[in-house]
């Protein structure tokens, strides 16, 4: 999901030497909350409805605007754009295509779109999130690992202890993933009891993550284990995201089969 898909375009502009009053009327007429400020064909700032409220109507737009607006490329993923806005505590980004400003994207629009990409039960993202990240990394030639994590005997948990306990297990495991995930990890709930992590961690750090993920997890009612399949994008050049997930899921299943005898069954905790 790229910024270009969410931005408002074409740019609605006002000249830096027009009055704040004029900018306010223009915003009202166009039904927008901000205008890009131009002078001599160059973007020099953004003026928002908040700037308008705080400024005398006689002032020049140049005296009310926010100078040097932060720009992001149209190709940037919306999650990265949101991170930038949250870090800088700003509500809008100017979007550029090459050297040319081509649109504006707001924090609220991105948050709304992202919320639609989140899994309601766990709060984790849906697969489209890691797919977008993985495809961008592939396009940029950045190597990564893809982890396919399958909760062992989840069906048994549901059968033996009921679906509410099963839901708790999924939520508990999602919390663990969020706790373990660092800045280089992108996590999603892939399907019912399956999760995918795309990570740019170096191998040593990845090993530590796998160790932590392989530890049995006490979710409150049940102790569960997982089978994890790992593929490296560097070892599988030319494979699509779908192919990588397929390969990692098969590895996970194979590991599950091999280790079935050794893996502990889900245990109901003694209370």
């Amino acid at each position: 999901m790229k910024v270009a898909e969410l931005m408002s375009s074409p740019l609605l502009t006002v000249h830096a030497e027009r009055s704040v009053r004029h900018a306010a009327e223009l915003m009202e007429r166009l039904g927008v909350g901000s205008l890009v400020v131009e002078e001599h064909g160059i973007v020099v700032g953004i003026v928002t409805s908040r700037d308008i409220r705080l400024s005398h109507p006689n002032r020049l737009v140049a005296d009310a605007m926010t100078r040097d607006p932060v720009c992001v490329p149209a190709e940037q993923l919306i999650w990265e754009a949101l991170r930038t806005m949250e870090r800088l505590k700003i509500k809008r980004l100017l979007v550029r295509d090459g050297g040319r400003a081509c649109g504006i994207v707001t924090r609220n629009e991105i948050r709304l779109r992202i919320s639609k990409l989140q899994d309601a039960m766990t709060g984790l993202f849906r697969p489209a999130y890691v797919q977008a990240i993985a495809e961008k990394l592939m396009a940029e030639g950045v190597p990564f690992h893809l982890l396919f994590i399958d909760v062992n005997d989840f069906r048994e948990v549901n059968k033996q202890y009921g679906h509410p306990v099963g839901d708790d297990v999924i939520r508990g495991y999602a919390d663990r993933l969020l706790m373990l995930a660092g800045a280089d990890d992108y996590v999603c709930r892939y399907a019912g009891d399956e999760f995918v992590i795309v990570t740019r961690r170096p191998v040593e750090s990845l090993g530590r993550l796998l160790d932590a993920l392989s530890e049995p997890l006490d979710t409150g009612d049940v102790v569960i284990s997982t089978a994890i399949g790992v593929v490296s994008s560097a070892d599988e050049p030319g494979l699509s995201f779908r192919d990588l997930v397929g390969k990692a899921s098969l590895l996970s299943t194979s590991r599950k089969r091999k280790g079935m005898a050794e893996l502990p069954p889900p245990l109901l905790k003694e209370r």
Binding site: L54, H56, R59, D63
Partner: protein
Amino acid sequence: MLMSAKRMYSRRATLSLKMSEFEMPPMQDLLVIGRKAPIGPEAVRRMAEALSPEQFTVVRIEHPKVEAVLIRNSLLQLMERDTLIKIVLEEADRMISDTMVIRSELKIEVTVHREVELS
């Protein structure tokens, strides 16, 4: 007796002209610009640049009421900028509100007294 049906109607305008010389530049030596003033620092900078090119500098200020001060460059050659701004703000703070622009004339007189040994 009937009132006359004829009514008088006229519209008149009285013009009064006051003429005086336009001071150049109209902003004298200093302008102290309030944060909510009808003109902001950029407008003032452009005005000063149009009327007296390269003779004034806008200094933006961190102050609750004052957004910026326009200063004649020649004053900055006589006195350090921070010292000058500090004095101006101390004085302006007592009378300015954040919606005002205050014009000020500032003269700096330098007195030198030297003693030399007579041969």
